[in-house]
Assembly symmetry: C2
Homo-oligomer: 197 residues x 2
DNA sequence: TATGAATACGTACCACTGTACGCACTTGGT
DNA sequence: ACCAAGTGCGTACAGTGGTACGTATTCATA
């Protein structure tokens, strides 16, 4: 029974895109209906029409990144055939051609930060992480994949905190080599308890 | 020529403490003069008297953590005598007795996040990081220390995103062992270029 | 004790924000 | 051509926030 169709079918998508751009630039804190409306070139009324609540808009915008950003880093890892390939792909995802721009990292940081206090967004992040873990399946153990994940975020985070000093590639490479080598080493488990003051 | 003394000399410090607590609980976004005033049990007028701008209050509060939180993680690392000691100290700082509580990590995450857009706070973080790097001086190379730093933040960040699933100690230990071993290995530098699709 | 500067506080703006809501327009079926 | 449903938009409102500012209080000095 649906009559009437949208006169500007792209408007919704444009609002989502503008939302991501504003958040990458000014953070979630700087994302207001009015600011995003201006940035997207739509009137305020359009905002509340497509997205009745601001929270919903933000969550939807974050969710929309999953289909965009995900595949970009996935493919090289998925195509990896050897541990060396994996290290190459990881180094590249950290600082190379497939690595995110500073704006992308800023956005990703906003998502992670927002996810700390918003279960909806945390679920989105969980899905992304699950994908990332599945990617290296068969090449490294699950816990090594988790470790790699942690370090990758650590490096990205470092880039964000030091935008002007590029990361040394050799250093990054050695770090991933060391982690990827863990599962191959079949490392003896240290059972000794930690001792400290 | 200073006459008049504060009737409540601790007030300023109490406001700073309350600020940190509110931020750890609700984030910087949830930190308002009025909210902090209520939490600290002081009237609104006291807030603006000691801290004319909210931004200044937040920066001062963050800065005040340097003397509190810093030493806690420093000591075990400083006392480390061998690579094994370092690994022990790092594992402990990640998930053990000297590791930060979730609230502490939340606060630290807020500081890092705020630092992305506020140079004042970025400088505070830089100072903390410099301390951390100096701590392992003599035991591992500078770039290894940087790598360890990145992973430590990665692990803390992971704890924040997965508050209910404790990190596996053996996994964490292996990860730091692998990184600490880098400098000992005197690893050959790979000069081959990365190749990818 | 008298004084004035520093301290402390209550209140009042003013800007901004999310959201509600009513009106106008577009569209496709009758 | 007419109509109803979906689309698009301007405005208003209530709440909250940072900040300014005038007044009261305290206390070392004279």
């Amino acid at each position: 029974m649906r009559r009437g169709k949208p006169n500007d079918p792209d408007r919704r998508a444009r609002i989502l895109q503008a939302t991501l751009e504003v958040i990458a630039a000014d953070g979630v804190a700087g994302a207001s209906y009015r600011g995003i409306a201006t940035h997207a070139g739509v009137p305020l009324g359009s905002m509340t029409y497509y997205f009745p609540t601001l929270e919903g808009l933000i969550v939807d915008a974050f969710d929309s990144t999953r289909s965009h950003l995900g595949p970009r880093y996935d493919t090289p890892l998925r195509n990896a055939r050897s541990p060396e390939d994996i290290v190459d792909a990881l180094v590249d995802a950290t600082i190379g051609a497939t690595s995110p721009t500073l704006d992308d990292i800023r956005l990703y940081a906003e998502i992670r930060h927002y996810g700390i206090r918003h279960p909806d967004v945390a679920a989105v992040l969980q899905a992304v992480e699950d994908d990332a873990l599945a990617m290296t399946h068969g090449h490294v153990s699950n816990s090594t994949a988790l470790t790699i994940n942690a370090l990758l975020w650590g490096w990205w985070s470092h880039r964000l905190a030091h935008p002007d000093t590029p990361l040394d590639e050799a250093m990054v490479r050695r770090s991933f080599e060391a982690l990827v080598a863990i599962h191959a080493t079949d490392h003896p488990v240290h059972t000794k308890e930690q001792i400290h003051v």
